[in-house]
């Protein structure tokens, strides 16, 4: 229930809606999610919107999901290496597990994550889709 909180998600809209990370002003490393201390010890960052394009590093199929995602099952999740460097975990939509392979090019799409019951908030965010 904690993770479904509309307020918790609201705080993360820039990340979840627009893949907004940050870039170190000294060494240029891009972080997603945002960091406050770079590995070069710098604390100065600029917000940076990632392109949403990347490659599948690995993936799997979820058949038995947390209850709130049960209507979406089966669905695929993967680790995506984004073009700018960060590796992130995300859902891969519009494809079955048989249609994916490591190294496939993907791009971000904006999709529904889950709806909390019949009266709760609907959560949206970035997922990934194979470029065809």
């Amino acid at each position: 229930m904690h993770r479904q909180s509309p307020i918790l998600r609201w705080r993360k809209f820039p990340e979840r809606y627009r893949l907004e990370g940050n870039r170190c002003n000294r060494c240029g490393i891009v972080y997603f999610p945002k960091k406050e201390l770079c590995e070069c010890s710098c604390k100065e960052f600029s917000s940076f919107q990632l392109s949403g394009k990347g490659k599948i590093l690995t993936y799997t199929e979820i058949k038995s999901s947390p209850e709130e995602f049960s209507e979406m099952t089966p669905y695929c999740v993967g680790i995506i290496e984004l073009a700018e460097g960060p590796k992130i975990t995300g859902q891969i939509t519009d494809a079955t597990v048989d249609e994916l392979k490591v190294g496939d090019d993907v791009e971000q799409v904006f999709r529904k994550f889950l709806a909390v019951g019949d009266s709760g908030v609907i959560h949206y965010g970035v997922k990934f889709k194979k470029i065809e």
Binding site: M72, V109, Y124
Partner: protein, 354 residues
């Protein structure tokens, strides 16, 4: 006399889901005659939204394509109106969510629009008014739907998902950026009980044959005629004509009444392989026309929304149309990238979509 406008379509884009279901698969599942259904509707297949798609996610993808073509920062958009009859929330603005996703910022006005299948063109008129009055520099109008049709009902063969988005700006001498100028718009509205959906009802109710002569044709034909009378233009002056397309047959019949040729309809009718995307229906036709038109061509667009009304537009492409056509994904890309689902998969996919 209808006023000549000084505004244009700076960016345009569309989105339709990847999945399709063939008309014959729906007919077989409902024990209905395949040839009879296909002959009556002239729809080969329709789009099916994935379980995680709704009118907001569809709108966002269409808007991204429109922004690419507009070549402006999203923060310059100062109004967003989204037309749909499948807004995911009864109370919570889809247009505000779209603005957040696009990174428009907070200095913009927004509202959700509903007028059955013409909510998208109503949104264009609302933006057009603000831009023409120079209240805003740019506005975003959207028509997007995941349409509903009860199992076994005639609507089940046509109710599809898709959307289109248009960024509208003022025409300025020396700073031309419009792919097409919106020259005129006018509307006709009546109280006609042809189609409706009550609160908390999953599927709409319609009056069968009454949705034809007294509803669709009366409004499409009379509003188009009113535009011709007001502007002094003749139907043969238009290179492209687009009507609302609830099925494949209605726009062809309306075209015949108005003397529109098949050549004029070539790019404007997209329903045969997409279905009726309600608020996105005539606007997907407009996007397809804009993606294929030559410079300095005239377009007549007449939408129809049950309940009832029509919005009519006279649009003329500019020399910039060719350059904008090369940017982003177009409707043909989306139409070609498709995957068929069977009837059982289809029912599972649309079950959780409002």
């Amino acid at each position: 006399m209808v006023k000549k406008l000084n505004i244009g379509i700076v960016g345009f884009g569309c989105y339709i889901p990847k999945f399709r279901i063939r008309t014959e698969d729906i007919a077989v599942a409902n024990n209905q005659n395949v040839d009879l259904i296909k002959g009556a509707l002239l729809i080969n297949e329709k789009t099916v939204p994935n379980k995680d798609e709704d009118s907001i996610s569809i709108a966002v993808e269409a808007c991204k394509n429109a922004l690419l073509r507009a070549k402006i920062a999203s923060s310059r958009i100062k109004a967003i109106y989204m037309g749909s009859e499948s807004h995911p929330y009864a109370v919570k603005a889809s247009s505000a969510i779209v603005g957040e996703v696009l990174g428009v910022g907070n200095d913009f006005t927004a509202a959700d629009v509903e007028f059955a299948c013409k909510a998208g063109t109503a949104a264009i008129q609302m933006i057009a008014g603000q831009v023409e009055a120079e209240m805003i520099d740019y506005g975003l109008a959207i028509g997007s739907d995941t349409s509903q049709g009860a199992p076994g009902d005639a609507l089940e063969y046509s109710a599809a998902a898709g959307g289109a988005a248009f960024i509208i700006g003022k025409n300025k001498v020396g700073k031309e950026e419009s792919a097409a100028n919106i020259l005129y718009t006018l509307s006709r509205t009546t109280d006609t009980p042809d189609f409706w959906r009550r609160n908390n009802q999953q599927y709409p109710t319609h009056m069968g044959r009454f949705t034809g002569e007294e509803a669709y044709f009366k409004h499409i034909v009379s509003t188009s005629q009113a535009m011709l009378n007001e502007t002094g233009l003749k139907i043969e002056d238009f290179d492209h004509v687009i009507f609302h397309q609830p099925n494949g047959k209605f726009p062809l019949k309306a075209a015949k009444v108005l003397g529109v040729t098949n050549e004029q309809l070539k790019y404007g009718i997209v329903v045969h392989d997409i279905g009726n995307t309600y608020s996105g229906s005539s606007l997907l036709g407009l996007v397809n026309v804009l993606e294929n038109a030559l410079p300095n061509q005239k377009i007549l667009l007449t939408s129809y929304g049950s309940g009832s009304g029509s919005d009519c537009f006279v649009i003329e492409t500019t020399n910039l149309i060719t350059e904008k056509q090369k940017i982003g994904k177009n409707l043909l890309n989306y139409m070609q990238n498709k995957q068929y689902v069977n009837y059982n998969q289809y029912r599972q996919m649309v079950k959780m979509i409002h």
